[in-house]
């Protein structure tokens, strides 16, 4: 190639997709008479390239693995031939510890597994434990739990959006997303006093009712948040780099997605309209008017579109929940699980004994078992609890959606380029705290 002060202009902006749905790309042009830049064929440039496969290790400490995931890749040139994931670096034995804790004592552990969805996990666990006790929570508690679940869905999707942008090369949407996430955390802090590890629910109710004026903050968030979604939408959805990095990458067909057990946005991006909130509803989700976005290509781009639309649908649900929040008691009137009021516990002997036995021995559900699944931001999150009639579960099993979703990563990355591994891994939306538990 000739040398000289030649500059190369690359037009990054394109007007969108071509007829076949691929991003329009502008070829490299040079400013010396408009001749096309010719690049020598790789064989001529690097005749030494042989067919040796290379072993590449990504992680466990790598910003693009979203935690302590480790991928061992066998590469043929830049193409992934084989991918071997290694997990377990964050394994803490939550399920084992749960067998030594009373039901309410497990709730702080649920904060710490999928820590982007902590209040959603609290709600899911409380629903599972209440099934074991045969309790239906009050109307007000149900609506508050819907608000909690949807707020945590927004948090989780925003973190996913921000970190995925960074993985793929965009920094600005990360800041916008994290600013909005901060607003949601401020709301949660005003409600339960904690930001990340909320521990907001109790068996039979919530730890605290919302304070006065909290609803105004929520309504303000509902009003302002869609503008941020629109901005991110304008920034990414038709952005040539974004589209080029994500379209046609990591495709799963509907049959494959179901067979591999994918759930949540991963499954819906592959064209399977399965949402636990619609198909196995809980918390009266059937009374809310919301849509389930479904992709039709099953690639990373569709997963992005599905999550963007879920953000908008969450705002719709929040709006409806804020409008219908009824007055009334927060906790169920059931002495088996609910503590007596503090004033009575310190003044009446019976209430004090009741309080003491509740705290020291814990509520005892009848022998039985329940599997309660909710639609967490990552997918179907299930809590399977087995009780033998004592105050501690015989078995507390977490069905972690991102664990099952991540199991499909070898299937998705094999045959793609090394740089696509990062995009595909980001699109799964993994949280290692939940995968390793």
């Amino acid at each position: 190639m000739s040398s000289g002060n030649r500059t190369i202009e690359v037009e990054l902006f394109t007007t969108g997709l071509d007829a076949a749905g691929r991003p329009q790309r502008t070829p490299l042009v040079t400013n010396d008479g408009g001749s096309q830049l010719t690049i020598a064929a790789p064989e001529a440039m690097e005749p030494e390239l042989s067919a040796d496969h290379m072993l590449i290790n990504i992680g466990p400490q790598h910003p693009a693995t979203h935690g302590v995931l480790r991928l061992v890749l066998e590469l043929d040139g830049e193409t992934v031939v084989r991918c071997i994931p290694h997990i377990g670096y964050l394994h803490c034995g939550f399920e084992k510890i749960g067998e030594y804790r009373q039901y309410n004592q497990i709730i702080p552990w649920t904060d710490r597994e999928d820590y982007l969805n902590s209040i959603g996990n609290n709600v899911a666990f409380a629903l599972g434990a209440e099934r074991l006790f045969g309790i239906d929570v009050t109307e007000r508690c149900t609506v508050l739990r819907v608000i909690a679940s949807e707020l945590s869905r927004i948090i989780s999707h925003l973190v996913w959006l921000g970190t995925t942008c960074i993985d793929i090369g965009a920094f600005t949407p990360f800041l916008w997303a994290f600013q909005e996430r901060e607003n949601v955390y401020n709301l949660l802090e005003g409600w339960v006093g904690a930001r990340l590890t909320t521990s907001a629910t109790r068996v039979g109710g919530m730890a605290a009712d919302i304070p006065a004026g909290w609803m105004d903050g929520l309504r303000h968030f509902i009003r302002t948040f869609p503008h941020t979604i629109d901005e991110i939408d304008r920034m990414l959805t038709r952005n040539a780099i974004w589209v080029g990095r994500t379209v046609g990458i990591g495709v799963m067909t509907p049959d494959e997605a179901i067979n591999w057990g994918l759930s949540g946005p991963m499954l819906r991006a592959s064209g399977v309209a399965y949402d636990v909130r619609k198909d196995f509803p809980y918390l009266d989700y059937e009374t809310y008017d919301f849509d389930v976005p479904v992709g039709t290509n099953g690639d990373v781009y569709d997963r992005f579109l599905v999550r963007m639309e879920e953000l908008r649908q969450s705002v719709r649900i929040l709006q409806q929940a804020a409008d219908k929040l009824p007055e009334g008691p927060l906790n169920v009137d059931d002495a088996r699980v609910i503590l007596p009021p503090k004033s009575k516990a310190t003044s009446e002997m019976e209430s004090m004994i009741h309080h003491f036995k509740q705290v020291m021995e814990g509520p005892r559900p009848p022998a039985g078992e329940s599997y309660v699944a909710v639609e967490s931001p990552k997918g179907e999150k299930g809590y399977y609890m087995v009780s033998d009639g004592t105050s501690k579960p015989v078995r507390w099993r977490i069905r972690p959606p991102s664990f099952v979703n991540l199991a499909a990563i070898p299937k998705m990355v094999e045959g793609h380029l090394l740089s696509d591994v990062i995009a595909i891994n980001a699109s799964i939306d993994i949280v290692m705290g939940e995968i390793d538990r």
Partner: protein
């Protein structure tokens, strides 16, 4: 690459049924069992030992030998179509004489059904049961985790090795009831073992053999790989 998929809808096999609602006032025991329960008893009278409904969820107990046959039928039969395997796990009870139960949670998306299938495994001789990986690929990691935590060997699984604990973990299976909460070894022994690990042994022997990096390894390491040795030991 841009081929579009047809949307698969949950509940497609029962289009006229009422939309599902959140469960309320669920009974502890009894209640209407899942429609599958009767069909499976008729189809496999010898394999199904009993069915029960607890908190509105149908549980079917099947014999461990019949797992693959029953699961294949549940997946393939046009009136069942349990195409989504939610969960594979196991339960060991505090009463150590009770058998270990392997639990599968299945969903039929077309029929919007949920089913729990259990197989009871006597604790001796060996904890072995058929893998359902050939039916649902999602069983891959869940069965590996179940093996890792309970020591149940899933026969027919293509790659049954530890997943959450590391390859050289010697203390046994953590979720078994005879496993103490803090582990079998003392803290000092656990620390000693951790410090004795070779931090350079970051690839498993199997991984080293898949790539041509094998040729670049020192002679003694290649000999150890060929003799079936493992890293870090």
């Amino acid at each position: 690459m841009t081929e579009k998929f047809d949307v698969v809808r949950a509940g497609s096999a029962v289009p006229d049924s009422a939309p599902p609602v959140s469960p309320r006032n669920v009974q502890h025991r009894g209640g209407e069992p899942n429609a599958t329960a009767r069909a499976i008893v008729e189809r496999f009278p010898g394999a199904v030992s009993r069915t029960e409904v607890v908190w509105g969820e149908t549980t079917i107990f099947i014999s461990p030998e019949s797992v693959l046959e029953v699961m294949q039928w549940l997946h393939d039969d046009p009136a069942q179509r349990y195409d989504f395997l939610s969960d594979v796990t196991a339960v060991e009870y505090r009463d150590l004489d009770q058998p270990i139960e392997v639990v599968w949670h299945l969903r039929s998306l077309p029929f919007r059904r949920f089913l729990r299938v259990k197989a009871q495994l006597p604790k001796r001789p060996a904890l072995e049961i058929a893998s359902v990986w050939s039916i649902w690929k999602s069983a891959d990691w869940m069965e590996r985790e179940c093996y890792d935590m309970f020591g149940i060997r899933f026969i027919g699984h293509p790659d049954l090795r530890r997943i959450l604990m590391w390859e050289q973990y010697k203390e046994g299976f953590p979720l078994r009831k005879d496993f103490p909460l803090r582990g079998r070894f003392s803290r000092s022994e656990q620390l000693r073992q951790a410090l004795a690990q070779n931090p350079e042994a970051k690839y498993s022997m199997e991984e080293l053999t898949i790539a041509d990096a094998f040729e670049d390894l020192p002679d003694d390491m290649r000999r150890r790989i060929n003799s079936g040795a493992r890293t870090g030991e």
